[in-house]
Structures are given as C-alpha cells and as structure tokens.
C-alpha cells in the first residue's frame, strides 16, 4: 500500500487556477522530487499537503487514512487538520526558525508543547505524581532525540546559538532537525536551497541526501537538477498546474517525452 495518495487536487486563488487536478502516489521510503518553472504550482501543492492551503477539490490519503477530502466538510475542522499535520513535516525556503530561541529550543519546542498536553491528560487520569514522573521521562527523551538530530545535521557545536548567529545553511539544517523532531511520516522540502548563497547549498543537500533511508519518505521541491537526478527515486515535472510528466530520474532527465519538459531542462541545465 502506498504511504501517500494524492487524488485530483485542485486549488484556485480568485480566478487563477494554480492546481488543476494533481494525482500521484508515493511508496514508503521513496524520495520524490518535484521540478518545474516558477508559477507552475509546486509550492502550492506542497502547502496543500501540509494543510497551509485547503484544496478546493480532491483528497489526500496517508497510510490508507483519508486526511482531507474537499467534498467532506468534517475533514476540514481545525482540530482535525492539526492532528493530520503531524503526518507531514515541512522545511521552508526561508527557514522560518524562531529567532528568540536557541537551536536546541527550536528543535524541542513543538515536542515539549505536545508533551504539555499529554501531561495534562495523564494528570487528569492518574494524578499529579504520575504526571510528574511521566513528564520527567518524556522530557529526557525529547532532549535526547533533539541532540541526536542536531548531531545528525552536524550542528552539535551550535546547540546553544541563536538563529541570527548562524549562516543560512546552518539555519536550514536546524530547520530540518526541527521538522524531524516531530517524526513525520513524510518530510517535505520547499526549495530548501533557493534562499542560500551558492556555496552553502552543498551542506544542506548533503544533509537531505543523508536522510534517505528505507523508512524516510521525502518530497523535495527543487531547482537543483543534479540533486533531483542523484537523490530522487521519482521525479514529477509540473507545468501550469498539472503534472506534465512523471517518472524515474532517468526517464525525466534522459528521455523527456513532452516538449515543455525538454525546453525546461535545456534552460535549467544551461545555467
């Protein structure tokens, strides 16, 4: 069974149709690269997957559970959406780290807030002493997990630094660790290197490459064609709100079928 099934997603802003029936599926452990020129709807698609936009039409299914179905209003409630979000992680183009928190605090904030809610539930059920014990155990786990993630992105020396003290590449690596801290089923990257100086893209791409394993599923919107070719298991080429072409990196990059894709590749690889 596919881990993700996207079915006929449509999204308009006013009279502009940004997505016009996007459907694809993804297997667990796969890396999907989405390429295409600006304005083709790549970012909007990613935002729909993370519930930052609500599709007008279509459904999203993860592990057989339908998370959102534009036709079924009960899947659109705020608390429902909040729970569904946890299936997805998102790394933004502009990092969006929380400037007032250190690296470690950035990575642990969301898990700690989640823990607060769980502790409240435990306290209600089995009393204060139990809740305190529960909190102490889980909090230690959260910090341990965070330190592991920070090590994995190579920033152990910077755990207590503030985002403004880091380079763009380092900030983006923290953002990756922060997204991983919530252990999402599918991690999405929205042009993770587009806001970086060219000499800093390498370190971020290396981290993403290092995340690839049999149980990490990733969707990467990118302009880095070499990266897409080297890391992705499948590539989607989007143009004008539809999936123009989909296939293995070899099919997309070596044997493009549609003229739009050929033109796009010629341009992208020329630069």
């Amino acid at each position: 069974m596919s881990i993700l099934e996207v079915n006929n997603i449509c999204k308009s802003f006013g009279s502009t149709e940004v997505l016009r029936g996007i459907s694809f599926s993804l297997e667990k452990g796969e890396v999907l690269a989405i390429i295409g020129s600006s304005g083709s709807g790549k970012t909007t698609l990613l935002r729909c997957l993370n519930f930052l936009e609500t599709p007008d039409v279509g459904s999203i299914t993860v592990n057989g559970e339908t998370l959102i179905n534009a036709a079924d209003k009960s899947t659109l409630s705020e608390s429902q959406i909040r729970r569904n979000r946890l299936h997805f992680g998102l790394v933004f183009q502009s990092f969006n780290l929380f400037p007032q928190y250190t690296v470690r605090q950035n990575v642990t904030l969301a898990p700690r807030l989640m823990l607060d809610e769980q502790v409240r539930a435990v306290k209600k059920e089995s009393g204060r002493a139990q809740a305190q014990k529960f909190r102490a155990e889980r909090e230690a786990e959260i910090y341990k997990h965070a330190d592991e993630l920070i090590e994995r992105v190579g920033l152990t020396a910077k755990v207590d630094a503030y985002p403004c003290e880091l380079s763009g590449g380092q900030q983006q690596r923290v953002a990756i660790a922060r997204a991983l801290a919530m252990t999402p089923d599918i991690l999405c990257f929205d042009e993770p290197t587009s806001a970086l100086d060219p000499e800093l893209t390498g370190e971020v791409l290396a981290v993403i490459r290092g995340l690839k394993s049999s149980d990490s599923t990733m969707i990467v919107v990118t302009h880095e064609m070499e990266f897409a070719r080297g890391v992705a298991d499948r590539v989607i080429f989007m143009a004008d709100g539809v999936i123009e072409e989909m296939g293995t990196p070899e099919e997309i990059f070596e044997h493009p079928k549609s003229p739009v894709l050929s033109a796009f590749l010629n341009k992208a690889l020329d630069i």
């Binding site: 705020e78 979000r85 929380f98 807030l113 503030y162 919530m182």
Partner: protein, 225 residues
C-alpha cells in the same frame, strides 16, 4: 516651610504620582493588547468599533478625557462621584479613580496601536512554521509570536511609558494631589515659587531609572535578531 518640609510634602505628592503611574501601566498594558486584537479581528463590527474608539481617544486631548470621565456621569446621568474618602495627604479617592480610568483608557489606545504594528510586523512564515509543527493557534501566538512582538514594541512602549510619567501631572486638573499640584499649593499658600521647578528633579530622576531599566531589557533581547 523649610527645604526639608517642602521636600517631604512633594515626595508625598510624588507617591500619588507613582501610584497613578504604576496602576495605569498595570491595567493599560494588557488592555492595550485586548484593543489590538479588537482592531485586528475578522468580525467587522467589532473591528470598526474598536478602531473608531481608538481613533477618537488618540485624536482628542487627554485633559479633556479626564474631565469627561469625572464630570460627565454627574452632568449627563445625575450620578456625581461617590464619596470614597481621602488618601495620600489630601487626594479624594473617587477623583483618583476617575483619573486612573481616564489614563488607562487613553494609554491602552496608544499601546494597542503599538502592539498592532508589532504583531503585523511578524512574518507569516513564523505562524506557518508553528502550524506545520502541530501547534495550536494559541500555542503559536503565546510561544512563538508574542515574545517577538515584545521585542518589536519595547522601544516605542518605553517611549510611551516615559511620557506617562510626565502626563500624570494632568491629573492635577481634576483635583488629584500629585506632585505638581502639591507644588502649586505651596506657591499659593506660602508664596514660594521654587518648589514648582523642584518637581522637575523628581520626574527626571524617576525617568532616568526607567530609561536605565529599559536599556537593560533591550540589551538582554539584543541576543536574538
């Protein structure tokens, strides 16, 4: 009256000044946030009501507002100020309360505009980053946004706070015996004019202290962006 007698008398008046200052901040700072939310809400009638109110308060003199608070209930509704007794030398508690209401509303309106600017300045990406990590709306606001707003507004707020220290002298117009009124009384009773200028030292010393404290806070928050 000797120098020390006058100093003591003025200090007593400055106590009333400080009480008005502290209580105004205590209520106006949170109330300003409420007004800011009102001015930003998606519910249009409430939004325009709040914005209209803030517009009127910011566009008219505080002195006039104080008079309205104190005299309007008696004139318009035949409900004169109650007798609550005397404190701090010779200040009528009811008039002090009236002054407090006027100051709180006035300053809350100014604060609300500062907060609104501070909140609207936070990039949308900060909300989205919180949301995709599974935080609730209130968690995003209180754990992610508010501290950044606080940093954004600290300088303009400190400006208003320093102004408030001096504005308290307006309470004199509705018979609150704060330091400036005390000095005027010395002038009219004893025919000594220098205490009037002496009050400036009290304001200046207190504002220096505030400026120092705000400087410390700004420095502490300078670590991040």
């Amino acid at each position: 009256m000797s120098f020390w007698e006058i100093t003591f008398y003025l200090a007593q008046g400055f106590g009333v000044t400080l009480l008005l200052f502290v209580l105004t901040l205590l209520f106006a700072l949170p109330l300003g946030l409420v007004f800011a939310f009102g001015a930003m809400t998606k519910f249009k009638p409430l939004r325009w009501l709040t914005r209209g109110f803030v517009y009127i308060i910011r566009g008219t003199p505080l002195l006039l507002q104080l008079m309205i608070v104190v005299y309007l209930p008696g004139l318009a509704f035949n409900y004169p100020l109650p007798k609550w007794g005397i404190f701090g030398g010779n200040t009528d508690a009811a008039y002090f309360f009236g002054a407090l209401v006027g100051f709180v509303i006035n300053y809350a309106c100014y604060f609300s505009e500062i907060y609104r600017g501070g909140i609207e300045n936070i990039p949308r990406g900060q909300y989205e980053a919180g949301q995709v990590l599974g935080m609730t709306r209130s968690q995003v606001f209180f754990k992610v946004i508010l501290k950044q707003v606080f940093k954004n507004v600290l300088a303009p707020i400190s400006n208003e706070v320093v102004t408030l220290v001096k504005d308290t002298a307006l309470a004199r117009s509705i018979s609150v015996l704060e330091i400036f009124f005390c000095a005027e009384q010395v002038l009219s009773r004893e025919m000594i004019i220098w205490p009037l200028f002496y009050t400036g030292a009290f304001y200046l010393i207190f504002n220096s202290l505030l400026t120092f404290l705000f400087g410390k806070m700004e420095k502490r928050m300078a670590r991040y962006r």
